[in-house]
């Protein structure tokens, strides 16, 4: 099974990664953490990062599905 995942970055993390998004194609089950590792082979996942799948907060070990939008971003600072 081939899965296509869109990966997005925001705020300071987007600047660190150096791009706003990635597209990732892979086969088999994968977690949010593995998505990060697949597109950022040179950077370990920062410790205080938040993750969302399809605009809902998730844990880093939750499983992604074909077509998901995975987002990584620093702690939020609105309001």
């Amino acid at each position: 099974m081939i899965m296509t995942i869109k990966v997005r970055y925001f705020a300071g993390l987007k600047e660190q990664v150096g791009r706003p998004e990635d597209e990732l194609v892979f086969t088999g089950l994968s977690t949010v953490r593995e998505v990060w590792c697949a597109v950022n082979t040179d950077k370990p996942l920062p410790g205080n990062i938040l993750a969302a799948v399809n605009m809902e907060y998730v844990e880093l070990d939750s499983i992604v599905q074909d077509g998901d939008e995975v987002a990584f971003f620093p702690p939020v600072t609105g309001g």
């Binding site: 925001f10 705020a11 969302a52 605009m55 702690p75 939020v76 600072t77 309001g79």
Partner: protein, 150 residues
């Protein structure tokens, strides 16, 4: 319940008045309105700040704010609620966020407005980048805890 993300500077008091005037069904029914307005300061963490850029995650921001208001509605007796949040370039003394809650009961209005504000601060995907008077830019790293007072 209305949630709005706005690019341009807004007048919080006009927003509230206009919203209240348009919601005819609540005329005479609400006894309590609790409001919070967050305004940009010209200082932060010991430095003078001359501007700010507010980034957000379009779509997720609205989704999270809707969830927050829905949770508040489950916990407290709310007649209506309005949340307005700026994004983009902001100058000192401009409003950043407005939360208004109408209720028949003041305890519910107070509790719900504070809950919405604290949840927004910890869950809604917004990020502030400050422009200091020294022309240095920096991301704000985290929000303070709004329940801790002196």
């Amino acid at each position: 319940m209305t949630i709005r993300i706005v690019q341009d500077c807004f007048d919080p008091y006009r927003e509230i008045q206009a919203y209240q005037d348009s919601a005819k069904a609540m005329t005479g029914k609400f006894g309590a309105t609790a409001i919070f307005i967050g305004t940009m300061r010209d200082f932060n963490d010991g430095d003078e700040v001359k501007g700010m850029t507010l980034e957000h995650y379009p779509g997720m921001t609205e989704k999270q704010l809707e969830l927050i208001v829905a949770k508040a509605q489950q916990q407290w007796r709310i007649i209506d609620a309005l949340v307005v949040h700026r994004v983009g370039a902001i100058l000192p003394n401009e409003p950043i966020v407005l939360v208004a809650v109408w209720s028949s009961h003041r305890g519910d209005a107070f509790d719900a407005s504070r809950y919405i504000m604290e949840a927004l601060k910890s869950k809604a995907p917004f990020w502030k980048k400050e422009l200091l008077t020294s022309d240095d830019e920096r991301w704000v790293l985290k929000n303070s805890d709004g329940y801790k007072t002196m």
